[in-house]
């Protein structure tokens, strides 16, 4: 296999082909409004465990979805078969549904044609990467672990998609998006270490560097001690911060906010986290996975959500936005959390200047316990350490926590510059590592 065996890939649906599909749908539809959506993807994942490949998969899936509306009645049908007959049948199915649907008072016709800022959503090196490139990275990670007599489990994945949305209003958007991922869990005995990356460019996964990080964490875990549950100062690595912060995003839903079923209800314009924290959406950021437009066809926009700790924005559906007279709906496709006013140390500096703390690599299985005050629970995972007098002194058995991001992000002692973070439970964000005081670990597990 060559490293870039692109000649073997089927061509994904181009802009012209999507326009042809759109016309096929619009010519067939008798609806007052018609919306056509495209998602055509080629993706592959090489998965390994116990230092060998256990799954090695490649997939091409194209799907076109049609929404037809008569007045306030609407229906949606989709197909993975792009033949003209099937696409026309899909229009008929959507029409059939719409004709029999009750009026939906919140239905809005598709948006009018929009202006899109070109967002660098795809990278050719990822689009051209195939099984051979994934195998190369897999071999690198496994090889380093084998040399250290450690076990490697993880994935290397890459994908390219063409995505489109078009409507009878004249709306038309189409773009290519790429995504590459690497994650690795290194095992030795009961100890594990983890590291992960996601990027538009497969060249930016930093496989060697992240493998060494995971190896270092696993090796540090060989000596483990059990600490009692209680309140500790914690140093959260970016992935751990991302896990807690991501849970806050669900509470930004504007409709829930207005119906008083959000933990943030009544807090718009008020301080909700430390005044040094600012949260923005930055679609054009090269290290984030921003997109050019939403499934509704609205352009993604750079926007401020929390400024100096004050909640300034909510996440609107189109109906709620219209009811509030909001024309430009903000998006959260490329989130970035930053801290100002603090001298930005590195993670190593933070450890060095800490008398006693728990260093957390990642959290796992984070769930809401109390939606009213956003109390969450979850476990530490794959690298939890005791820091004393400026150094990591041992691994500790994993803790369960009970905390709310609305409480812990008001107890910041130190913070780094925003860093790339991705976990199995979050999308990609830029967030700092943070030292937080008085963090509630409620119980300990057996490893």
């Amino acid at each position: 296999m060559s490293t870039t065996s692109h000649k073997t890939w089927p061509k994904l649906t181009s802009q012209d082909e999507f326009r042809f599909l759109m016309e096929l749908v619009l010519n067939r539809s008798t609806g007052d409004h018609t919306l056509v959506s495209l998602h055509d993807q080629q993706s592959g994942t090489t998965r390994f465990a116990n230092n060998q490949i256990v799954q090695n998969v490649d997939m091409r899936r194209g799907s076109v979805s049609v929404t037809v509306a008569f007045g306030q009645r609407h229906g949606t049908a989709s197909t993975t078969d792009f033949s003209a007959g099937k696409v026309q049948e899909t229009v008929a199915r959507a029409t059939h549904i719409a004709e029999r649907s009750p009026d939906d008072p919140e239905y809005l016709p598709p948006v009018k044609p929009q202006h899109y800022v070109t967002t660098p959503t795809s990278r050719p090196e990822t689009a051209l990467a195939g099984p051979a490139r994934r195998l190369e990275y897999t071999s690198e990670a496994i090889g380093q672990c084998r040399m250290e007599n450690l076990g490697a489990a993880g994935i290397v994945s890459s994908s390219m998609a063409t995505v489109g949305v078009a409507a009878s209003t004249g709306l038309f958007a189409h773009e290519a998006r790429t995504d590459a991922r690497f994650s690795l869990t290194v095992q030795t005995g009961d100890a594990t270490g983890w590291s992960a990356a996601a990027h538009r460019s497969i060249d930016h996964l930093k496989v060697q560097e992240r493998t060494l990080t995971a190896i270092d964490k696993a090796k540090r875990g060989l000596e483990v001690r059990e600490l009692p549950p209680g309140r500790y100062t914690v140093i959260l690595e970016p992935a751990a911060v991302a896990g807690l912060w991501y849970s806050l995003l669900w509470a930004l839903d504007a409709k829930s906010y207005e119906k008083n079923t959000s933990a943030l209800s009544g807090k718009l314009g008020r301080q909700i986290v430390d005044t040094r924290l600012t949260f923005r959406n930055v679609p054009a950021h090269e290290d984030l996975l921003g997109i050019g437009f939403t499934p509704d066809g609205l352009p993604t926009v750079a926007s401020d959500w929390i400024t100096d700790g004050v909640l300034t924005q909510l996440s609107y559906d189109r109906f709620t936005a219209k009811a509030r007279g909001i024309d430009n709906i903000p998006t959260l496709d490329a989130p970035c959390l930053s801290a100002s006013g603090l001298p930005p140390p590195t993670l190593q500096d933070m450890i060095k200047h800490t008398e006693r703390a728990i260093l957390v690599t990642n959290f796992w299985y984070i769930r809401t316990v109390n939606p009213t005050n956003l109390t969450l629970t979850g476990m530490t995972r794959d690298g939890t350490f005791l820091v004393e007098n400026g150094a990591i002194v041992s691994a500790v058995k994993n803790f369960r926590f009970h905390e709310s991001p609305l409480r812990v992000f008001n107890r910041i002692e130190a913070s780094t510059n925003p860093t790339e973070a991705i976990t199995s439970e979050t999308g990609k964000l830029l967030v700092p590592a943070m030292t937080l005081s008085d963090f509630n670990f409620s119980s300990v597990t057996r490893f």
Binding site: A49, N51, Q55, M59, G62, D81, S101, I366, V369, R400
Partner: protein, 488 residues
């Protein structure tokens, strides 16, 4: 655009598998799947969406020199089949280059069969008018209860038509249905909000499941209990006896027994994502998982249950076996790849993929708690201070499945043998074998109910597993209830 003629499925399968055999691969199979999913979702007294999704494609799995390759495509054509077959072969060769231990599949007889879900009423033949009217009337009924601020109601139906063909000669056809319905009510009081929900189980049957569930008769009670729940007093943390209903237990069993009994987890295959298992291979046959009241049985043969598909995606016959017998851990969920690694000569037939585009992986079977001999009243009668829990709430468990925490959907205080009033903010915490070790009573078969999951996350790329868990009510002594205000 893919302007290919739609080939006969057998023709396409034969074309693909011929190339696999010619490559020198020791095994190959193809799954062609055509799925139709209808989802009707209501929210706050309106029908928010009706979606009819058709998803078809094929996936080819190749075992070459003891290593796997898999490729899949939604383009069903005689031109695409050889491309995908060649790609799967090429990928398998790449895997083989890093192989240390060759995969050797457990033997399985060749099967040629056709499986069809029995149904009285085809859910896709029921008119949309009838379905949307049911959801709208259900939500209206909920909102008639003072204190309710939000509601939702939905129906979901899926039909899978699948053909599995292997190079060993198996040919299996499937025409499977699955169905579910649910609704919930959210109440607000004193700055708090709380929801109460009703769910039919996900089962393989027809629309009679929805008819029999009688949403309109149940909705007023659910709405009333949502209001009672949000106004209920909070719980004092402490040790309580718990009586858990079958729906609640379905989740407890799933997370604390189902996942750790997956052999691929125990062998480290999921170390980077879903996690491993405290039920390591040396524990089988000796480890005390629970009390002698605890008998957990995998049954992929029980009609109407999600994993009872006749054969799994290895082409292995669905079976029944023990996971925990008299409190001792005795058996795993396996597939043809991992079963030989613990000396078993045949797979348990628990290898499933969630679509044509995914490779099958070991999945939790239909694991259920075997009924005991008590009645629910007898279980309650022997509780001085306890909590009765219904339904699912917040849940979280560590990656080896030791340290867990479960909430629920509704909670009632038990005082001196009687269920008294609702309480809120109940969250209990435990260590799996200690928790199951505290089980001292299971209700009889007349209390047995089935619930299931279609969103069990596992695998990379992530897949959704389907399985049903049946139980009667069960009682657990001195469980640590920490309360939903924990940490505040």
């Amino acid at each position: 655009m893919h302007a290919h003629r739609n080939p006969d499925q057998d023709e396409l399968a034969e074309l693909a598998l011929k190339r696999v055999v010619a490559s020198g691969a020791e095994y190959g199979d193809i799954r062609l799947l055509d799925s139709t999913t209808q989802t009707i979702r209501g929210e706050d007294r309106r029908i928010a969406s009706i979606r009819d999704a058709q998803d078809s494609g094929f996936g080819i799995r190749v075992l070459y020199h003891g290593a796997w390759g898999f490729a899949a495509s939604s383009v069903l054509s005689l031109e695409e089949a050889p491309r995908v077959a060649d790609l799967a072969i090429d990928i398998a060769k790449g895997s083989a280059s890093l192989a240390r231990e060759r995969v050797k599949l457990a033997d399985e007889p060749v099967h040629r069969d056709r499986i069809v879900t029995a149904r009285r009423i085809d859910p896709f033949a029921v008119t949309l008018d009838k379905k949307t009217a049911l959801l709208l009337e259900t939500m209206e009924s909920i909102h008639r209860q003072p204190g309710i601020v939000r509601s939702s109601a939905s129906l979901w139906a899926r039909r899978d038509r699948k053909l599995f063909v292997s190079t060993e000669g198996s040919r299996l056809e499937f025409d499977l249905l699955a169905l579910s319905g649910d609704f919930d009510a959210t109440a607000i009081h004193d700055g708090r909000f709380a929801s109460r929900s009703f769910n039919t189980p996900h089962l393989r049957m027809g629309y009679e499941l929805i008819d029999d569930a009688n949403f309109l008769a149940v909705a007023p009670r659910i709405a009333s209990e949502a209001v009672e729940k949000v106004k209920a007093p909070t719980t004092d943390p402490g040790q309580y006896d718990l009586v858990l209903d079958p729906e609640h237990l379905s989740l407890t069993m799933h997370e604390s027994c189902g996942h750790p009994s997956e052999l691929d987890r125990a062998l480290g295959y999921e170390a980077n994502y879903a996690g491993t298992s405290f039920l390591t291979t040396d524990t089988r046959g000796t480890f005390r998982y629970g009390s002698s009241h605890v008998n957990l049985v995998a049954d992929n043969c029980e009609p109407e249950t999600l994993a009872a598909t006749g054969y799994d995606d290895d082409g292995v016959t669905c079976q029944q076996w023990d996971i925990v017998r008299d409190g001792i851990f005795v058996g795993y969920c396996t597939n043809r790849e991992v079963a030989p690694k613990i000396g078993e000569t045949r797979s348990r037939g628990s290898n499933r993929a969630d679509s044509w585009s995914a490779v099958p992986i070991v999945r939790i079977a239909n694991i259920g708690l075997e009924p005991g001999s008590a009645t629910l009243d007898e279980l309650l009668a022997d509780v001085t201070r306890g909590i009765y829990i219904e339904g699912h709430g917040s849940y979280s468990i560590d990656q080896r499945r030791y340290n867990f925490q479960f909430g629920g959907d509704a909670f009632w205080l038990i005082e001196n043998g009687r269920r008294t009033h609702m309480v809120r903010d109940v969250v209990y915490h435990g260590i799996t074998p200690e928790f199951w070790g505290s089980c001292d009573g299971v209700a009889d078969r007349s209390h047995r109910r089935r619930y299931g999951f279609i969103t069990c996350g596992k695998g990379q790329p992530a897949q959704s597993g389907w399985m049903t868990h049946a139980a009667s009510h069960a009682r657990f002594r001195n469980v640590n209830v920490i309360g939903g205000q924990a940490g505040s």
